[in-house]
């Protein structure tokens, strides 16, 4: 089936699968996710067809995270290098967090010193989780992150849940507070941090921010009800992901309320039929 230029109107998304012919190779150029065979551009992955001028690409449904500047991501430190950290952010390459892109103790405006380079592990060490924003790209396509905001930084008081990146929609805010005392950070790379709710004013801190608190490895005291809620939210996210439902705060809230109404235990959510029921109960939240 051939496509004219009008077929790529704004807001019209075409879904294609491997082997499906997209358009003629005379009129268009092949991009990622396509190949040319007998003068036709053919999709090599399943996903949505996208066009930039004469370039046709297919954005795969299942792929690693494709970063864009300004995205909020959750990542894990894999390596400490001179003046930089390597961060696993579910992308094709490890992301880079420069020492100059983090808030240093003693004031936001402080310049980095040589002593900071020597004690980088006191800020982040291997295995630490952090929330950051994509700042720029290097020439090889690796992303550079920054944590120069009081909302970004090291993660504590919770657990990580991983979903396919495509299921995270772009939202107004990726910091979600559920009324059950659980905070969520929906990283666009598919990493979701589920943690205990921290009150707004405690989080922001004072003028000069508290380095002790920001780079601390100690968890706060968390009561059993909150722990159960965190586990329940984690299971709901995994369940929705296994049914391939895009996650938004509304969907999560609705699913959580349903789970509470059922009065089941946390592990009941792992059962197949409970999952089916939950998904079929989701109505309004999904279609907004």
């Amino acid at each position: 089936m051939d496509l004219d230029e009008d077929d790529f109107d704004e807001g019209v998304q075409r879904i294609t699968g491997p082997g499906e012919s997209i358009t003629s190779s005379h009129a268009f150029m092949r991009g990622h996710g396509t190949y040319v065979d007998s003068e036709e551009v053919i999709a090599s992955v399943s996903g949505t067809v996208e066009r930039v001028n004469k370039l046709i690409t297919v954005r795969a449904v299942r792929s690693r995270y494709n970063p864009e500047v300004g995205d909020l991501v959750v990542g894990r430190i894999t390596e400490v290098q001179p003046r930089r950290w390597k961060v696993d952010a579910n992308s094709r390459q490890d992301a880079v967090l420069m020492l100059s892109s983090v808030n240093l103790p003693g004031g936001v405006q402080r310049r980095k010193l040589e002593s900071d380079e020597l004690q980088m592990r006191t800020f982040f060490e291997e295995g630490d989780l952090l929330v950051a924003e994509v700042q720029a790209f290097f020439s090889d396509g690796a992303m550079s992150l920054h944590t120069r905001s009081l909302r970004y930084g090291k993660l504590r008081n919770g657990q990580l849940v991983t979903v396919p990146p495509i299921l995270i929609r772009r939202l107004k805010s990726h910091f979600v507070s559920l009324p059950c005392g659980v905070d969520l950070i929906l990283g666009l790379n598919g990493y979701i941090w589920v943690s205990k709710h921290v009150k707004q004013h405690e989080q922001e801190g004072e003028e000069g921010f508290d380095a002790e608190a920001v780079y601390s490895n100690r968890n706060d005291d968390i009561d059993d009800a909150t722990r159960a809620a965190i586990s329940r939210v984690g299971n709901i996210i995994k369940l929705l992901a296994s049914h391939f439902i895009p996650l938004t705060d509304a969907v999560l809230l609705e699913a959580y309320e349903w789970a509470i109404e059922q009065e089941g235990s946390v592990k009941d959510l792992l059962l197949d039929e409970v999952g089916e029921n939950l998904v079929s109960s989701l109505g309004s939240g999904m279609r907004q």
């Binding site: 295995g127 657990q159 722990r227 586990s231 984690g234 299971n235 296994s242 235990s265 592990k267 197949d272």
Partner: protein
């Protein structure tokens, strides 16, 4: 075993959750709950026995969960001139797919493969478990049983999965029936020499000759029935099951996920065999991790482990018998269709 990265606060969170009353795990399971285990035997058509096992697969997703593929291939070995051992031998190997451990270097992956191979080899190939029907001709030919396992995905508890898959593949193994064949000089059997036949005579094991003597003088063997799959390994109900106790004294948990494994200081692998007519035996034991353990506590862990292993054994046994029935029915249907 594999170093999963986990941050200090995650570790502290998991440990604190496990130590509350009642203990809470990340996915809401209780300490002794296993994830869903999926098992299928006879997955590799060219192998003598095979099985695929998955622990904790996501409900509808293709992926997720620890996945192990195990297959048994029998090979004839010459005892006199080759590597063969009289009565047959068992060789195990474990391969870890690089896609299961993307963060490991190839050296680290080799180490891991070696560690798992050693555990499997030392447990499965132990003389106390040796099946008696791996001999073909005493003193001359024997079967070499190759047990190969591939770890396709690792999301925790890989040792238990490995042993379950190995047990299922061994259970599924069929040893071809053989019959010894002797070469006889033409003078011995004069009546057998005919104009177009050479001097070799194929002796039938079912003839009136003394077949006990046959075994000693036989030079080679033949397969009496090509279509017959053969007989199961002798003593197949004895193959061990493994149960891994992740120790965070005073508690322990079963079937840990990767993050849980990284958060507990010690792991105790126990391999139990449950012969049908004898008390269970502890076939092997491994302790891994940086923590320490006193002997009294270890003993109580072994006692607990036996209980869990019994449960695992019973469940696996019933599943394997179910699989046998399913596959026999399938074979019968196919045979009926051919006729």
């Amino acid at each position: 075993m594999s170093a999963t990265l986990v941050s200090k606060s995650e570790r502290a969170y998991i440990q604190a959750s496990l130590q509350t009353t009642p203990p809470l795990r990340a996915d809401g399971r209780s300490l002794l709950d296993f994830r869903t285990v999926l098992l299928e035997t006879g997955v590799a058509p060219l192998a003598n026995g095979s099985a695929k096992l998955n622990i904790g697969k996501l409900a509808r997703e293709g992926g997720g969960g620890t996945e192990v593929l195990a297959a048994v291939k029998l090979e004839v070995e010459d005892v006199e001139s080759g590597d063969g051992v009289d009565g047959g031998r068992v060789a195990c190997s474990v391969t870890c797919s690089p896609s299961a451990y993307p963060h490991l270097t190839s050296n680290a992956l080799d180490d891991l493969q070696h560690d798992l191979t050693v555990i499997l080899q030392q447990t499965i190939a132990h003389p106390s478990l040796h099946p008696s029907n791996l001999a073909i001709i005493p003193g001359r030919r024997a079967w070499l049983l190759n047990l190969d396992a591939v770890i396709l995905v690792d999301s925790g508890n890989v040792v238990d999965a490995l042993f379950m898959a190995a047990r299922a593949a061994l259970w599924d193994t069929k040893v071809p029936r053989t019959r010894p064949v002797a070469y006889q000089a033409p003078s011995v059997s004069k009546n057998a020499v005919k104009e177009n036949q050479d001097s070799m005579d194929v002796d039938q094991g079912t003839s009136s000759l003394d077949t006990r003597d046959m075994g000693r003088t036989a030079a080679d063997f033949e397969l009496p029935d090509y279509w017959d799959e053969g007989e199961v390994l002798q003593g197949r109900e004895r193959w061990p099951v493994s149960v891994t106790l992740n120790l965070l004294p005073p508690i322990h948990l079963l079937d840990a996920t990767l993050t849980e494994e990284a958060s507990v200081p010690l792991r105790l692998h126990l391999m139990f065999s449950f012969p049908s007519s004898a008390p269970p035996t502890l076939q092997s034991m491994r302790l891994s991790g940086p923590g320490e353990l006193d002997l009294v506590y270890l003993k109580s862990c072994i006692a607990d482990g036996e209980k869990y292993a019994r449960g695992l054994f019973t469940a696996l046994e019933s599943k394997l018998r179910e699989e046998d029935v399913r596959r026999n029915a399938k074979a019968r249907d196919r045979f009926a269709a051919l006729r």
